[in-house]
């Protein structure tokens, strides 16, 4: 299994490289930060002139004076750069925002913020999905099944930002009813928590986490609960459950020992993948709740044409997806001993 994992990771390297080439091309071709900088200079200029050399310097600083393939090669290897670029040297390249905003530091700061949101939302979605999926299956064609199924489909049919707007409004309403701020709507924490106690800090984080988590988990929940329901139904319909029942094993025991456990295999393999899906959703949720995470970062970078920053995001999330895939495969094998890794 270990060898299998290593082999999978090795295969992932060319995939990542190809993905990075592809996205580098797309991102690079779709933006022109030099023109934006010229506009900024023009609108600041008071004597009707753009300072000589400023534009060229700006372009050179970002390596925009080189061709796209050269830039990609630089980005990957750093050969021929000034030492601030080159993935193989652990450098993400210069950001349009300048040296005060190194891409590496931004990404690592923001990674945990996003990951916290994505992880908690996915876990919550999966746990609730298991519970409701099982209930749905056991009570198939009863009212509760119809209700849960409908909720699931409804969640799948609503744009994330639509749900998020409603959730936010509900949170504010609840705060007003309670007369105090329990749920927060902007940021991952309050602006300055350095003088809070440890408990205060934790409370602050939780208060900021609840609404965005709810907004993010709905889609994942809806997909997972349908999945769990189907898996459970299949198990309930299987020969060995029928056999167990026929042998007179108590219904409760059949459920817990045989049906539930077996039905968890598919969803366990599904969970890591839904983390990857939630990453995309986080882009929108972070924007709505003003979270200073990676999603907001990539949106702002796209807007500014900051291609090295966009690339850093794509790389990190790409690696996350690959890791999630691998974990999913390994879990599958571990849960279902019939699977062998060659």
């Amino acid at each position: 299994m270990f060898i299998y994992a290593i082999r999978r990771l090795l295969i992932a390297i060319p995939v990542l490289i190809a993905a990075s080439m592809f996205s580098f091309l797309l991102v690079d071709l779709s933006s022109d930060p030099v023109a934006d900088y010229k506009l900024q200079l023009a609108s600041q200029s008071t004597n009707g002139e753009i300072p000589k050399g400023a534009v060229h310097e700006f372009a050179a600083h970002l390596y925009l004076d080189r061709s796209v393939p050269e830039r990609y090669w630089l980005w990957l290897t750093g050969i021929g750069g000034r030492g601030d670029i080159g993935l193989l040297r652990g450098k993400f390249g210069p950001s349009i925002l300048g040296d005060n905003n190194p891409i590496g530091a931004e990404i690592s700061d923001r990674f945990m913020i996003t990951f916290r949101l994505v992880l908690i939302a996915t876990l919550a979605a999966i746990v609730i999905a298991i519970v409701t999926g099982v209930i749905s299956a056991v009570k198939q064609y009863r009212r509760v099944d119809y209700a849960l199924t409908f909720v699931g489909f409804l969640a799948l049919a609503m744009p994330t930002f639509w749900i998020a707007a409603l959730i936010k409004e509900t949170g504010i309403w609840a705060n007003q009813q309670a007369g105090t701020t329990i749920f927060y709507t902007i940021g991952a924490t309050s602006p300055d928590t350095s003088d809070y106690s440890a408990m205060g800090k934790a409370g602050d984080i939780v208060g900021h986490l609840i609404l965005p988590t709810l907004a993010l988990m709905l889609h994942g929940y809806a997909a997972a609960s349908r999945y769990q329901r189907a898996a459970m139904l299949e198990v309930l319909d299987s020969d060995y459950v029928r056999l167990a029942r026929a042998k007179g094993v108590r219904n409760r025991t059949v459920m817990r020992r045989h049906a539930l456990r077996t039905s968890l295999t598919p969803i366990a393999t599904f969970a890591p993948l839904s983390i990857a899906a939630a990453l995309s959703g986080a882009i929108i949720v972070e924007r709505i709740f003003n979270w200073e995470g990676m999603g907001l970062y990539v949106l702002e970078s796209i807007q500014k044409g900051d291609s090295f920053a966009v690339m850093a995001f794509l790389l990190v999330s790409g690696m996350l997806v690959i890791a999630a895939n691998l974990v999913s495969d390994l879990l599958y094998g571990w849960l279902d001993p019939r699977i062998r890794y060659e």
Partner: protein, 578 residues
Amino acid sequence: MRRKGIVFGTLALGVTVALAITACSGGAKSTGSGFEACGKHPTTCNSGDRKDGGELTWAISAGWDSWNKNRAKGNSVYLAEAVQGILPQIGHFNPDGKWWWSRDTLKAKPKLVSKNPQAWKYELRDDAKWSDGTPIGVDDFIWHWYSLTSDKSKCGDCDPAATSYGDEVKSITKDSSGAIVVTLKKGSYDPDWLTKNTITYPAHIADKHGKGWKTDPKAMAESSKWFSDNQPDYSGGPYMIKSAKIGQKETLVPNPRWYGKIKPTLDKLNLLVVSSQQDMLKALDNGELDGAAPESLDPDVSEQATGDTGIRSNLAPGPGWEHFDLNVTNKWLKDVKLREAMLTAIDVDDVNKRTYGQLTKVKRRDNYLFNQKSPYFKDTFAGSSMGTGDIAKAKKMLSAAGYKLSGGKLTKDGKQVGPFTYRYLEGHAMRKTTSELVQGYLGKIGIKANIKTIAASQLGTVLDKSDFDIVEFGWSTDPAFTTAPQQFWDSKSPSNFGRNSDKKVDTAIAKVHSTVDLKEAAGFANDAGSLVAKDAYILPVVTTPVLIVTSKKVVNVRDNWASQIRALYNMEEWGIKK
């Protein structure tokens, strides 16, 4: 506090700009809490007694990305907002549009001691000191000058945000009385020099990071870069930075050595970047924010804020103004007769009624440089049919110029005129409505306009390459006016986006800087404006109203259209209501 030069022409294209609020300086008598009195008492409205302590969070519209606002790369309204509390100032424009010299920093109003060469004398108060106890002095003036000049023998690589200040100065010296004298180059006239800020960053700290900056251009560049890259731990203003995450948030605490008369009472003042106005209003409702002065006006937000009894809000004319620009390099639009007819077909009053007029009272803007309240205001469009929406007149003009209108199509010499590309920045609700209205007006004179929005990431490209036939955008200005004409209209200006090139206009612009008398300069500026109007090139629409919203617990916060940082201009006075 307003930094000269940069302020004037910050483009207000919707996403790119931020502004702030206003207030009175000097504590003055209270005209009660709330914004009701702001129309009549712009400098004292919403004032009141403050209680000691408290925390306040103010939203700003976008992030900043360095700490030195004298460098072109980092300079932005948002950076100006972030460092407003920690930099000393010579004075600022008050919400009544009048210049107020800082009684905290100066002993007396700066004096014009010589007309040619122009020379100004500044007398600093002895108490005016940086937070480490070093007095503010002549070196700080010199450092500021060096950082804003294109003269490479003064600074090797300062990337100056603007050079019109630094390049005008000949010398800065201390006279026998200890006063500082700034002398301009001979023949260099600057009518609104008085309103220019002359100090920013501390020279003695520059010395630590660029030893000998006064004589060594390389050391000067190093100190400038150092200020850019390092979060300020110094202060010459009412606050100090306690913590900051560049581009996201900043927490200010009172500067214990603040020398000003009015001391901050707040324990903490947070500045937080919240780009979406809707999110901002929700957070204000939710008690997470205490106020904001968004840079553009979102009609839904404005409407909700006005109806929200839990908060205070005010809508008043702001620093920006909307206008249509025609691209005169288009093969049809190079004909001034056609341009005049097109601008005549546009009904500005109708546009205003359908956009900002739905939220507040607005009037058509009919001067490029001055709003109706300015003493220099003159109706540039008096007697002109442009902006009236007089279709009959437009048609008459067209047929007189040899155009034919038949079957709803305008032709000349058998060829169809247009179609024209009409552009505005995507996401701007008011400009969206305007675009559809203009499409209608032009349709009536047989001209087709195709609307193509500009994505935020394409703005620079579109304007730089003049990739439009008609564009609507906004300029943001303050009461200092002498650099704007050149910036907007000079045939060589990079921000003359429609590329109008008129020698007469260029000559008229040059005159603005031929006097030290403001009134005379204003006359010249208006003359230049009238010539531009004759060229049927730019049509002003409206002085854009702006919104300020605050929670009910804050006092002494009010909007200031005359300052780029708006409400933050008097942040030392802000406090929690007693």
